[in-house]
Symmetry: C2
Subunit: 250 residues, 2 copies
């Protein structure tokens, strides 16, 4: 008998998780994805705490999110997530967020590597990961995460300091903060007339407390490319592509 | 028969709600308080959306939080909150957060005013608020919120820009952000050896997107006074008192 390794979890959008319009904010949606990924990895015996015991850790390499419709304040949504295909050294995890009428609101896919904490290099996926039963289920977003190209005429639009609240338990800046930084680089006028329809992020390097980052943005029609780099040593930390649409009033 | 107007709600600490130690962060604890206050006001028919209909809104004036013990990552805690005494134009709401063994972890009290949105001035509490049945129950923290004095030798320690993610649905900076700003003004060395035991905040004025704030801190023994002021017109936005203790390892 094949066990379907699919996790279902409910989230109710809280007041402090809203954006300016009273919908779940984009960072909140990314937080829900990250939370469910962690909870499912724990159930499957491959949590970050399990990997720490072998001097290994999970690293998020890529995230691709399509927001068909934003959950409202106080709306309860159901997260469905599962380990999907493997692509070489990358373990893929997919997500669909449904409303209570089973209508998909958000589709996402993420690509993860396992890092050796001694060499700080990615390793071949360990056996406890590769032996996990992958559900026989179509991808949420059918992508092999093609390389995101750097913005061509990126203007530096914002310089930000890492806040204490941006850090995770590893004392690195947490994945969702990069999304916030990219979105922060757009003028508030964008937020008043449009909403994020799609987001792709490629994580390149880590950053820590005390560092400052520069956010660049380049704009072609309704699509932006954002580059987040370290103000100090100019390392590229993340590349983000965002696609926007006019706000749809229900 | 007297109906006891007490709300009970559960919260499970999520991965993105942790501090550097893997416990619920102080802003997370404040978010839980704010969320439950809003949920209970809604059940009692005095939500901010109800007040908007009469061109009124709730304003948080004071918050006092005592953290006896921090909830752990993935721990489920139970929030108990109730409308407590009234103090003139102030409606007091108290909170106790319990662990699953019914041990109190956090005690808090908050003081709220109703603002007329035309005059932007506080008004006498409206009848739908004063007629709410106040449970016959001892206060969580027995305080009449004495005036917090300004720090005497406050050094400017940090200047911060308002982020989009700091805003609430009214496009004002949300209450918990001021707590983050105050905590952010302390050196990371404090966080490595000590934990916040108690926090008092007095909200003086609002701030909006596009503004910059200056955080000052003044230090006497294990107690800090923080002043948050507007970098532009030097208005005092909030005064915060924090008390710290050495980290207790379980």
């Amino acid at each position: 008998m094949s066990i379907q390794n699919i996790l279902h979890e409910n989230y109710t959008v809280r007041s402090y998780e809203m954006d300016l319009r009273g919908k779940a904010s984009v960072p909140t949606i990314c937080n829900y994805l990250q939370e469910s990924a962690g909870n499912h990895a724990t159930k499957l015996g491959v949590s970050v705490l399990e990997l720490f015991k072998k001097n290994q850790t999970w690293v998020l390499s890529r995230l691709h999110v399509k927001i068909l419709k934003y959950p409202n304040w106080r709306e309860t949504v159901t997260m469905e997530t599962w380990p999907s295909v493997r692509q070489g050294r990358f373990a893929i995890r997919d997500f669909i967020i449904f409303n209570q009428e089973s209508e998909p609101l958000i589709k996402a896919s993420s690509s993860w590597m396992v890092l050796d904490l001694k060499t700080l290099r990615p390793i071949t996926l360990p056996e406890e990961v590769t032996q996990i039963n992958v559900p026989d289920k179509p991808r949420a977003i059918d992508t092999d995460f093609p390389k995101l190209s750097l913005p061509e005429n990126a203007e530096p639009v914002n310089e930000l300091g890492v806040r204490l609240g941006d850090l995770d338990i590893n004392r690195h800046v947490n994945n969702v903060t990069y999304v916030e930084w990219a979105l922060e680089s757009l003028p508030i006028s964008i937020w008043k007339k449009s909403e994020l329809a799609e987001l792709e992020i490629s994580y390149r390097a880590e950053t820590k407390y005390g560092e400052r980052v520069i956010v660049h943005a380049d704009h072609v029609a309704d699509s932006y490319t954002h580059l987040i780099s370290s103000a100090g040593d100019k390392r590229n930390l993340a590349v983000v592509k965002t696609l926007w649409r006019d706000i749809q009033h229900d």
